[in-house]
């Protein structure tokens, strides 16, 4: 490859410092650190080699900072743990010493060496990785992060408990917020519940508290009956178009009827519907919104059982848990008797079946129309079921409850107590295997019970048991909400389970690959209300941290076009995976109008797809140039530092 001699000359004088970490024995128990240091002294360009028990400790960082301040070194390599863990630690140390943080290269000799190799092999591999990093370090150029102005405005999509909580937290931070819901109501699925476990709070209080404050906030503009119909831009500078329209004919019919029947006004909580802030629009309007960040709080859908699944749809006596909750909530308004009643029918015994639409197993459960199986646990249904079971037993002592489970997980504070309470209130438990679910049939035997249940009960040593019941309740799980329009428009990452997927479940739990777009609540995974609010606050905190300064700083590791080499073939534009990150623009070169590639650094993710395809080698990712890779590879295979191992 034709190297640029001018560049080579400029970089051949860099003074590289190599700092090798023992990681308190994590590395030095398997890697002979002294030998790695001795070998590192032979690497071209290396002027100083040091080691320390913990490079990330203050004294360890001081070693680097001293050498930078004295001018002993001007390129730094630290050989230690994974770069995710501490590369920012060392970049910051360099910056504090007055250096540019991008003259830094990391060699991972813990996860990639000492944790997986031993003896000479470990020491040799560590030496080669350090040599490669040092070779790259010589080529590193000081870089500056991009500054992009950012609108101090956040758009929250979804007016359920997650959206309300996010919007409030953001407004309290002084940011302007647009809160959007596709329905005429605020409160989401929370508003359609009755009492929330484990505290037994009425949801009316939760929703009223949150939505009340949202509607009073001058910082928050609420748009109901609205959908995002256009999306463009990047972190700090998104442009959205909202379309606000009357609901389609039968949509939200039940909720609207409840609103008019309740005699409640706008802004007041309507049981099993939510809070309608401002009525229903009669005409379609559009709004353009410029916004700095987007919080997705689009929620979930309860699993809808297939026709015939546990006789659902075939027998009116088979209902879902959300349906039961609504009936019980409505009954309470009428007053309750010692026996649960549904449509004036006394329920003497009820069977509750867990894991309906959750934890489905290929080969055992039937996939849905699209071929999907919900293999995940919905996490909330065990506690919700037991909470409801105790509610039945406490309010209606003459109604018996049979609980059929595969496993019970009432995890979390105050939730094991739900199991205790159900047990205390004499709920009878049965346990079935996934491939032998309880069998619900019409009761043809004696008695006037409409249904009969048979189960092979593992708690009774696989004996077959049967019991007649008046009602079967299916504890349905959570499914991803239908947001395919947003997924398509915003190119959102979807996990194998169909929920939106974060960058990393622990390190970046509310962020997705698109900078400036955050996740709040059950659009990401099944969460209970408490977890949903935690996630919502997390997303709000993240959004306000991003926009707090009025500008965002972006990593400089983006593509850069060398206009001396670019011929405007457009190959890179075709290879680019992010719409708008690369384009061909017209420019003057030597008085001639030509097309050349241009990078939008705010959108470029630095993936390198363009670098791989450019026939002229005219495009590179800063901090990761082809030349740097070549030098790393040269040094890995070089026998200057270590004798070749092929002998």
């Amino acid at each position: 490859m034709a190297d640029d001699n001018k560049d080579k000359k400029a970089t051949s004088e860099q003074k590289v410092g190599v700092y090798v970490c023992h990681c308190g024995g994590n590395i030095s128990d398997h890697v002979a650190v002294e030998e790695v240091c001795k070998n590192a002294e032979k690497i071209p360009g290396v002027v100083k080699v040091q080691n320390d028990v913990f490079m990330c400790s203050d004294p360890g960082q001081e070693l680097i900072m001293e050498d930078i301040k004295n001018g002993t070194v001007d390129r730094v390599v630290v050989a230690s743990c994974a770069p995710d863990l501490h590369s920012s630690t060392f970049r910051n140390a360099i910056q504090r010493a007055g250096g540019n943080p991008y003259i830094y290269e990391h060699a991972n000799i813990r996860e990639q060496v000492s944790w997986v190799h031993h003896g000479d092999q470990a020491t040799n591999k560590a030496t080669r990785l350090v040599a490669a990093a040092a070779a790259k370090a010589r080529e590193l150029q000081p870089l500056e992060p991009f500054k992009v102005d950012a609108k101090r405005h956040v758009t929250v999509i979804g007016g359920g408990i997650a959206g309300l909580k996010s919007a409030l937290d953001l407004a309290r931070k002084g940011l302007d917020v647009a809160l959007i819901d596709k329905s005429p109501f605020l409160g989401g699925w929370t508003a359609k519940w009755d009492r929330a476990f484990p505290t037994d709070d009425p949801v009316s209080e939760l929703v009223t508290a949150l939505a009340g404050e949202v509607l009073n906030s001058e910082k928050i503009t609420v748009y109901t009956c609205s959908r995002i119909t256009a999306f463009e831009g990047f972190i700090g500078n998104f442009k959205l178009t909202l379309t606000q329209a009357p609901p389609e004919s039968d949509a939200y019919e039940d909720e609207i009827k409840r609103l008019s029947d309740s005699g409640k006004g706008f802004g007041e909580f309507v049981p099993l519907a939510g809070i309608c802030p401002a009525g229903i629009p009669e005409t379609t309007t559009t709004h353009d919104i410029e916004t700095g960040a987007i919080v997705l709080a689009t929620g979930f859908l309860p699993y809808a059982p297939r026709y015939g699944e546990y006789r659902y749809g075939e027998s009116k006596e088979v209902i879902t848990l959300p349906e039961l909750i609504r009936i019980m909530a409505e009954n309470r308004q009428k007053g309750v008797g010692d026996t649960l009643e549904i449509n004036d029918r006394k329920i003497r015994s009820v069977a509750m079946i867990h894991c309906v639409g959750s934890r489905q197993i290929p080969g055992i459960h039937e996939p849905d129309a699209k071929g999907n199986l919900n293999e995940y646990c919905s996490r909330t249904c065990c506690s919700a079921t037991l909470h409801a079971a105790s509610m039945i037993r406490n309010n209606h002592p003459k109604t018996r409850v049979f609980d059929f489970y595969r496993d019970i997980r009432t995890y979390g504070r105050g939730q094991e107590e739900l199991y205790e309470e159900a047990s205390d209130s004499k709920v009878v438990f049965f346990r079935f295997e996934a491939d032998a679910p309880p069998e619900v049939t019409r009761n043809t035997g004696s008695g006037d019970f409409p249904l009969n249940i048979k189960v092979k009960d593992t708690l009774t040593f696989d004996e077959e048991l049967e019991m007649p019941v008046d009602l079967v309740v299916l504890a349905v799980g959570m499914e991803p909400g239908n947001i395919s329009d947003l997924v398509e428009m915003m190119k959102l990452p979807v996990g194998v389970d169909g929920f939106l997927q974060e960058v990393h479940p622990k390190l970046r739990p509310v962020e997705i690959a698109q900078s400036g777009v955050l996740l709040a609540g059950t659009c990401q995974a099944p969460f209970d209300m408490g977890e949903t609010c935690s996630a919502a606050s997390g997303a709000a905190a993240k959004a306000s941290a991003i926009l707090g300064k009025g500008y965002v700083e972006l990593d400089p590791f983006v593509a850069e076009v060398d206009l001396n080499k670019c011929l405007g073939t457009g190959t890179c534009v075709n290879a680019c995976i992010v719409e708008g990150a690369l384009s061909l623009v017209e420019m003057d070169v030597d008085g001639e109008k030509v097309k050349r590639a241009q990078v939008n650094p705010a959108l470029c993710t630095g993936c390198g797809a363009c670098v791989a395809v450019c026939p002229e080698n005219a495009i590179n990712v800063k901090g990761w140039t082809l030349k740097q890779y070549e030098d790393m590879v040269d040094m890995i295979v070089s026998d200057r530092i270590l004798p070749s191992q092929t002998a």
Partner: protein
């Protein structure tokens, strides 16, 4: 096929047992029981929970094997007093004999 009869737990209260439904079927009692007898006393407790009276009467002899050592009562994580339940079931069996 065994019919489930959940009222049995209430019936047992008349025989001095009010912990029938506390058991969560972990099997600690059966593991600690010196009788090394198949699933005793766990199986009996389960029959009591689901109200399988016939099963209890069929297997009444098991109830009289119990040594009343108290190990199951000491180790039960749910404090469901398995040994006392066995005593209560004996009273139920005796009562049932007298009546039939």
């Amino acid at each position: 096929m065994t019919q489930v009869y959940p009222e049995f737990a209430d019936e047992l209260e008349g025989f001095g047992v009010n912990t029938t439904m506390d058991c969560f079927n972990c099997g600690t009692c059966a593991a600690i029981c010196p009788l090394i007898y198949e699933h005793f006393p766990r199986k009996m407790i389960r029959y009591a929970q689901i109200g399988a009276k016939d099963r209890i009467l069929e297997n009444y002899e098991d109830l009289w094997r119990c040594l009343h050592c108290g190990l199951c009562i000491q180790t039960c994580p749910r404090e469901a007093d398995p040994g006392d339940l066995i005593l209560g079931l004996r009273r139920f069996v005796v009562d049932h004999w007298r009546r039939t």
